[in-house]
Symmetry: C2
Subunit: 277 residues, 2 copies
C-alpha cells in the first residue's frame, strides 16, 4: 500500500487531509481528500462520499463548498475522490468533457480508455477499502452525494449498491446520460456504440429496479446546463412509476456553481444524516 498523507489542515476542529496513492484499478497515481471530524465525544462516525463534476479535482468541493462547517456540526467524515485517472501516461482528450477530469464514474470497455478509466471500481472497491481504514471509529454507514457529472455518479453508484448506501443526493445531476449530449459523448467513447451497455450507467434506467435508497435532488432554475444536459422528466417519471422515494427540488434563480451548492448543502447533509443514524 502506497498511501501517503501530503496535506493535513485543521478545519472546524477536524482535519482536512489530502492523500496520494497508487491505484491498481486505475493503473496510475491518484490524489484524494478526506475530512475527519474531531469526534471529541468518541461516537461512531458515518461517511459521506462526495463526487465532483466535470473538470474538478478533489480540491473544488474541499475549497469552495464550505462543507467542513457541516461535517463538523454533524460529526461525519467526507471522502472526496478525484474525477478521473491522472498522469502523463493516461489517455486524454482536448475537450473538457472527455478524458481527464471527465471519468463519468464508469468502467470503460473501449481502447485506449479501458486501461485507466475504471472510476466505478476505484471508488466502490479500492478507495472504499482505504476510507474504512482512515475514518476513526467508523460506523460502517455510508451515503453518497455529488454535483453534475458527480450527481450522475452518486445516483449510479448509490443505486448499483443500494444496500450499502443509506441515502443518495445530488446537485444538478445528469439523471439520464444516455439521452443528453454529455452522456452520449462520454458513453460512446468509454463504452462503445452498443447502447445496450450504457443502461447500467444511467440513473433513469437504474431507478426502475426496486428498493433504492431515499434520493434528494436540488436543481437551480438559472443553471445554464439545464435543461439540455440535466433534464429530469424521465428520471422522475420512472421513479414515480416504481414508487421510489425521490425528492426533487427546484431552486429559483440559482445557477450551476458552488454558490448554489453551498446554499443547499446543509439541507443535503441533514437528509443524509437522518438516514445514516
Amino acid at each position: 500500500m502506497s498511501l501517503k498523507l501530503i496535506e493535513n489542515k485543521r478545519s472546524f476542529d477536524g482535519e482536512q487531509c489530502k492523500y496520494t496513492h497508487y491505484s491498481e484499478a486505475l493503473q496510475c497515481d491518484m490524489t484524494f481528500s478526506i475530512y475527519l471530524p474531531s469526534n471529541k465525544e468518541n461516537k461512531e462516525i458515518p461517511l459521506i462520499w462526495w463526487l465532483s463534476g466535470l473538470t474538478c479535482t478533489d480540491d473544488n468541493f474541499s475549497q469552495k463548498s464550505g462543507f467542513q462547517a457541516l461535517a463538523s456540526k454533524y460529526q461525519v467524515a467526507v471522502m472526496i475522490p478525484d474525477t478521473s485517472p491522472r498522469g502523463e501516461d493516461v489517455a486524454d482528450d482536448e475537450a473538457y468533457d472527455l478524458g481527464k477530469g471527465a471519468g463519468f464514474y464508469v468502467n470503460a470497455t473501449q481502447s485506449p480508455w479501458a486501461k485507466n478509466y475504471n472510476m466505478y471500481t476505484y471508488i466502490t472497491d479500492e478507495l472504499s477499502e482505504i476510507a474504512s481504514t482512515l475514518v476513526p471509529n467508523f460506523s460502517g454507514k455510508e451515503s453518497i452525494m455529488g454535483h453534475s457529472m458527480g450527481g450522475h455518479g452518486a445516483l449510479v453508484i448509490g443505486m448499483k449498491n443500494a444496500s450499502r448506501f443509506k441515502a443518495i443526493s445530488a446537485f444538478a445531476p445528469i439523471t439520464n446520460p444516455i439521452q443528453v449530449p454529455w452522456g452520449i459523448k462520454a458513453f460512446s467513447t468509454y463504452l462503445g456504440e452498443d447502447k445496450a451497455t450504457w443502461k447500467e450507467w444511467d440513473a433513469s434506467e437504474l431507478i426502475k429496479e426496486t428498493g433504492m435508497p431515499p434520493i434528494l435532488i436540488s436543481q437551480g432554475t438559472a443553471d445554464n446546463f439545464y435543461p439540455e444536459q440535466l433534464e429530469e422528466t424521465t428520471f422522475l417519471d420512472n421513479a414515480r412509476e416504481n414508487k421510489q422515494e425521490v425528492t426533487y427540488k427546484k431552486a429559483e434563480g440559482y445557477d450551476h456553481s458552488y454558490f448554489f451548492i453551498s446554499t443547499f448543502l446543509d439541507e443535503h447533509f441533514a437528509f443524509h444524516l437522518k438516514n445514516l443514524k
Copy 2:
C-alpha cells in the same frame, strides 16, 4: 461613472455580485465583489469590508471562505476589494509580495508606484462611495476585517478612520509591518527609505492613539508565517498601555489558509454585528 455588473450569482437567498469600474485613485480598471443579502424583512443593512492577503483578488474570500452563509444569517452586506491596482500599464515586481496582488493598502509616494498604488484612497473614498450606492437600505454603519496583509489593511484603515468603522477584526494580521520582512520590503519600496513616513501605516503605532474601535484578532499556532511576519507582542503591549479594547485569540493547530479563516469566521461576524447594531 463606469461601474458595470459582470457577474451576479444567487447565494444563500442573496446576490454575490462582481463589478468592474475605472478607478480615478488607481488610474486603472478594477474589479471588486460585493455580497448583498436578501433583506426580505426590509431592515437597514450594515456593511462589512473584507481585505484579502498577498496574491489574492476579490475571488479568494468570495469562493473559499463560505462567508455568504454568515452574511445571509446576519443580513449584512460584504464588500471585497482587490488587493492592488491591475492592468498591463501598472508597475509590478516579480516577487509575490510586491506590486500586483501586494498593494498593502497604503498610498505610495515613490516612483513608479505612486501613480497607481493608492489602495488607501481607493478603499476609503472611491470604493466607499460606490458601496453606499450598491447596498439597498444601507444603515450607514460599517466595520472592517481582513487576512494577513489584509489584516494589516483592516487594522490600519479601521484605526485611521476610527469614528467611521464600528469594529475591526483580523485573521493572522501583520500587526507591526515596520518591523517584519514583508512590511519593510513593501514600505521601503512604496514609501521610500524615510522610516518616519512608515509609522502612519503601522497598526502598532496607530494603536497608541486613543478611541479606537473594538478589535478582535485570531492567529493560528501552526501558521508558517507566524511569528516571523505576524509577531503580535508590540501591538498587544501598545494596546494594553493605551487601554484599547483588543481581543487576541490563538487558535491551536490552525495554519494560514482559508480552512483557518472559515473556521472562525462566524465568531468574527458575530463580533462585528454586535458593534454594527
